[in-house]
Symmetry: C2
Subunit: 338 residues, 2 copies
């Protein structure tokens, strides 16, 4: 069977079940969150380590030649910071792997590292080490470790499987800008008015560390970042929490400036399935969402709720409660995209 | 300038100096070992985390079609365990990134994960998470976290820059077997007598965790694993410790069975510059090396010593003290190989 037939998330499940002998290992008992969440979490001597990794591959995750190297460095770290934020953790140390051809220009790599350093300074992350390997395909992989709060032995993290029926779904900031910015780059629309702001949303994601801490402080224990697309990422929460979710179309905070550029229908499609906005979805009871909104460093908009239903996925509803079909719900790294 | 012109180790130095703004970051003050060693080390709330990463790229680090998937999984973890061992740490949690084409066979990936799990069980490592990305070039990247001993606030690790003039250089086990095994696979010599043992040395490295702990316990504070080749890896210790090193040809423990297969001269060349044996180089004063040898889980052979000289590299000497020239001293991931 081919990877494209099972898809990224089916493959993760199958590989996780290949790890059969793990119960012999002492470290396994210290694991709090394993395969299948934004990041892994384990206990370490009174503290809790949060660890994740993400790779940007040339031609798959960025457009070579149309992505400035400093922006690529920024993004390589920022997308990992977003994973740590989605768990409610604080990022600290990064390990960077560069896969490159031997005729790769060194000055470009130095610019990439300047971007990494700028993101490190912005998010409090030290670049601690890494690896350089030769490869016909350029990629940059960041492994990122951080910490989660531990209070009286209780490790405070936000998990994909922590949603309850009736919980509200809230999202930080605005959605669709990154997809719009990618389209601008792809179609070479850079000269249009408003394009620069969208391109920045695509190239320089701003992970929501402050809002994540507000969520943890408010007692929220379920979250995910919007990397693959709102409906798809909320769908992961549905699948792991064994619930459905509804999202109300008229509540979705579509990126300002997107509809004038692409039209309202396409702007909505980008907002709910475009991905790469690296906004934060917080899921919890109303009073905790309100408390988080009070302390968050970005606008927090309630866009839907968790419901009991047999199909564990997220649906977009119109004003009359009818489901809106959009084709693809987001980005799967292995299936053919719609 | 091209990457091949500065080489892997020149590039690492240049990229490290691109990280200019790091002094603002609180995490940087907790960093004990940063870029340029086998692994990074940082303080975390009374303990010390050791973290590393290594990538195996198809066609560069392994022969697709001639490397069983279970062996590839084993090796992907084992080479990282070896980096943690070289620091004197204990490995604990791994994060795995697979870069693959969408027509990649799923059963092969399951076998790879079984190999990862087997190595995890052997070395006490839990597979805690990871990432799957699409790429035209297959690769597997492991990020590995572990712990170092902390005694009265003193973090006990073995660093590349810890050698002193007069220190002895000792190596575990035997060298050259992995290079011999690779040659067997490349030249399809599998049917020859003794070939299977060499191939196993190439496919299933056995990192020296026990000997590393013996070194730490004996007070040794300088080590490296033999991944790129004995002279090249010892050269890293020379460069970081600002010393030279001599290795005595007649003391080098050449893999049993290698000389009958390839002849004594080629066997020696494989032993001193072949790489991938994942044996451990321990560097320290005689009494500490002897104490480590007593507790090590493998034979520990004294092969040379650290000397004061202007050129910070390792030389191979014959019985009369003359330098033996071998061409390439080992594996650089970016320069053209000799």
């Amino acid at each position: 069977m081919k990877a494209s037939e099972v898809g990224e998330f089916g493959l993760i499940d199958r590989l996780a079940s290949s790890l059969v002998e793990e119960h012999h290992i002492e470290a396994v008992e210290r694991l709090i969150v394993g395969i299948g969440d934004d990041a892994a979490v384990w206990r370490d001597n009174g503290s809790a380590v949060v660890a994740t990794t993400d790779t940007l591959v040339a031609g798959v995750h960025f457009l070579p030649g149309r992505t400035p190297w400093r922006d690529l460095g920024w993004k390589a770290l920022a997308v990992n910071v977003s994973d740590i934020a989605a768990m409610g953790g604080t990022p600290e140390f990064a390990i960077v792997t560069l896969a490159l051809a031997d005729d790769q220009d060194v000055e470009e790599l130095e610019e990439l590292y300047e971007g990494l350093a700028a993101a490190g300074a912005a998010f409090g992350v030290a670049i601690a080490g890494g690896d350089i390997v030769r490869s016909p395909t350029f990629s940059v992989t960041v492994g990122l470790c951080g910490r989660a709060q531990v209070v009286d032995g209780d490790v405070r993290v936000m998990r994909r499987d922590g949603a309850m029926a009736g919980d509200l779904v809230a999202v930080t900031g605005e959605l669709g800008g990154a997809a719009g910015g990618l389209r601008v780059l792809q179609d070479r629309l850079e000269t249009d008015k408003g394009a620069a702001a969208l391109v920045q949303r695509h190239l320089r994601p701003q992970p929501r560390l402050g809002s994540a801490q507000a969520g943890i402080g408010a007692g929220i224990r379920c979250a995910i970042d919007v990397s693959d697309g709102l409906l798809q990422d909320l769908g992961h929460i549905c699948r792991y929490s064994r619930l459905g979710a509804v999202v109300w179309r008229d509540k979705v905070p579509v990126q300002l400036g997107l509809a004038p550029f692409f039209g309202p229908e396409e702007a909505l499609r980008m907002a709910v399935s475009g991905g790469e906005d690296y906004e934060l979805l917080l899921v919890g009871p109303q009073e905790k969402i309100e408390a988080a909104a009070h302390d968050a460093d970005a606008a927090l908009t309630v866009i839907g709720e968790m419901v009991i239903q047999g199909i564990h996925s997220a649906e977009l509803l119109d004003e009359r409660g009818g489901e809106i079909e959009l084709g693809s719900k987001g980005w799967d790294h292995l299936r053919e995209q719609a």
